[in-house]
Amino acid sequence: MSLRRVSILFAFSTFALFAVLVLSLLYFYRGGLFIETLFSERTLFSIRLSIYSATVAAVLATALAVPSAYALSRCDFPGKDAVDTILELPMIVSPAALGAMLLIFFNNPLGNWIQTRGAQFVFDSNGIILAQFVTTLGVATRLTKAAMDEIPQRYEDVARTLGASPAAAFFNVTLPLCRRGLAAAFILSWAKAMGEFGATITLAGTMAMKTETLPIAIFMKLSTADIDGTVVLILIMTAIGIGTLYAVRMISRKGLHA
């Protein structure tokens, strides 16, 4: 069997794995409940909150990731390896621990000061964004760096001989050249933020109509042993998430591959 066949087979087996998981949900599926749950005020709030906070967090994370990734990919400076390695911290320590670390941080004088002078994060919707931001920042930076690593420095150099400042060369040449990698980084960050649960629940809590994102709502359903409700919410979550990503991909395909 040719490489092509084998590799497509593998791709579909990955697809099948996930598809079977989604389909097996239907084992517990009840149509009426689906409609009722989907259009309840509470679910709609969760959907809005999830999309809003995931988008803000992913945008923030990507925005911060771009300059950091540039430094890691292009410059040499002492401590670079340390910076590079710590990017995996949010994954390593697990989301719940990360949430605990955030809580512990706000327990400190510094954290306290921030909370009293600045914005509330603990048990607040700001906390959702913060939790999602912190969990995605590392992976967004890592992915952006990986994308930039593949773009030869040469293009930037040549741009500079044409009169571009380092910043202009970066924005006009390197950034658009790694746009596909950047888009992948953003999409993954968004997906990760959408699904973020451990850190969010620990830092922002589970208050309905306030900090209840979709993953938290799913967890709460599960925590109340409401399996039918869980299944419905997972289906909603899947539909919204995968649907959005599919749409984004279709739209950006034209823009990116043009």
């Binding site: 500079r160 001989t161 009169g163 571009a164 380092p166 060369a169």
Partner: protein, 362 residues
């Protein structure tokens, strides 16, 4: 005016050594040299793409050795072109203008005309990926010129073009040099190009510049044997000046078993006195073959010996000749028709003859 003072740079085990060069304002300086002799490295060092280990670069008298790349105002056509793959042809070309915030109509019209002249105007909206090699090269050229700098470094900018277009672009470049007051430093391996475009030519060998001068001088009066070899002077013999008059020089070449008569003016530096050591060279195509059974009408620079080998090639062929009483090999290039006419065979006794004016004194 671009000036290099004792530049040195390293790349791995390769080194550029103490290169000094001055390109006058508005002139074109050509660097020729074998592949791997460090030409690209030199351009990169001037641009700041590589760190100098020593020396300084001056632009119109101002030192730019430690200036950032974008402040040097030197445009560049790299050997690998490095066109921006995400931009269209037009956006590539306008990149420099946009970076400098130049918006005036005239400049834009000039660029458009330039695109038309080099024949890439219809490609304006195409993406870089599907251009042919020669199209790419022209885009890179126009991009560099359009940036509006007065100094231009070109690394084999016409190597992918066919003869006709290449010649046309030579004229275009000459024209632009005048109209835009361009100072050009250019690398090529095409001698014709060097002759045509180069006000001055430098020969680079093994990371050092061995000779600089007017193209014809460099070609006709190589400063040393390495340069001579580079220019295809494959017959090189050591000699000793026996006598010299106002118009000619008599050189004894033991390896040829003969004395050669060379007109004055065949070398850069004339040996000043009898007895001085010197080197004599001649291109294979300037060696004439005479069959010994025919009467010879020349007396000077005539050598008798044996034809040791005939290498058939195509339009021209190479003969190897051994002067009588020596172990030296003289290479001779003869056109196909001449070889046929001469009806030579290996082992034949023949005579060869060097025209005085085609002998080099190195």
């Amino acid at each position: 005016m671009l000036e290099l003072r004792d530049i040195a740079a390293k790349a791995g085990t390769f080194a550029l050594n103490d290169i000094s060069l001055a390109v006058d304002r508005g002139s074109c300086h050509v660097i020729v040299g074998a592949t791997g002799s460090g030409k690209t490295l030199l351009l990169e060092s001037i641009l700041g793409l590589r760190k100098l280990s020593r020396g300084s670069v001056l632009l119109s008298g101002r030192e730019i050795t430690n200036q950032p790349l974008e402040k040097r105002n030197i445009s560049y056509v790299p050997q690998d072109l490095a066109l921006f793959p995400h931009l269209t042809v037009e956006d590539n070309i306008l990149y420099g203008l946009r970076m400098k915030g130049i918006k005036d109509r005239e400049h834009a019209r000039m660029v458009e005309m330039l695109m038309e002249t080099v024949g890439i105007k219809e490609l304006a909206r195409r993406s870089i990926g599907n251009l042919s090699g020669g199209e790419r090269q022209r885009v890179a050229l126009v991009r560099a010129i359009a940036a509006g700098n007065n100094h231009l470094l070109l690394d084999e900018p016409f190597s992918a073009l066919h003869q006709g277009l290449r010649r046309e672009l030579w004229f275009v470049l000459k024209e632009l040099q005048k109209s835009c007051d361009l100072t050009v430093l250019m690398v090529t391996h095409d001698m014709e190009e060097a002759f045509f475009l180069g006000d001055r030519v430098s020969v680079m060998i093994d990371g050092a510049i061995r000779q600089t001068g007017v193209a014809r001088d460099v070609y006709e009066k190589p400063a040393d044997t390495a340069v001579a070899r580079f220019f295809g002077i494959r017959n090189i013999f050591p000699g000793r000046v026996r006598a010299l008059s106002k118009s000619v020089l008599h050189v004894a070449c033991d390896s040829l078993g003969a004395e050669l008569t060379i007109p004055m003016g065949a070398a850069l530096h004339q040996p000043t006195e009898p007895g001085a050591r010197c080197t004599v060279g001649i291109r294979p195509e300037n060696v004439m073959v005479l069959k010994t059974d025919r009467p010879s009408y020349v007396q000077e620079n005539l050598l008798a010996g044996i034809l040791t080998e005939i290498l058939l090639k195509g339009a021209t062929h190479t003969l190897l000749f051994r002067p009588a009483g020596t172990a030296t090999v003289v290479e001779i290039e003869v056109p196909d028709y001449a070889l046929k006419k001469l009806q030579l065979n290996v082992g034949d006794g023949i005579s060869i003859f060097f025209k005085g004016e085609s002998l080099f004194l190195i």
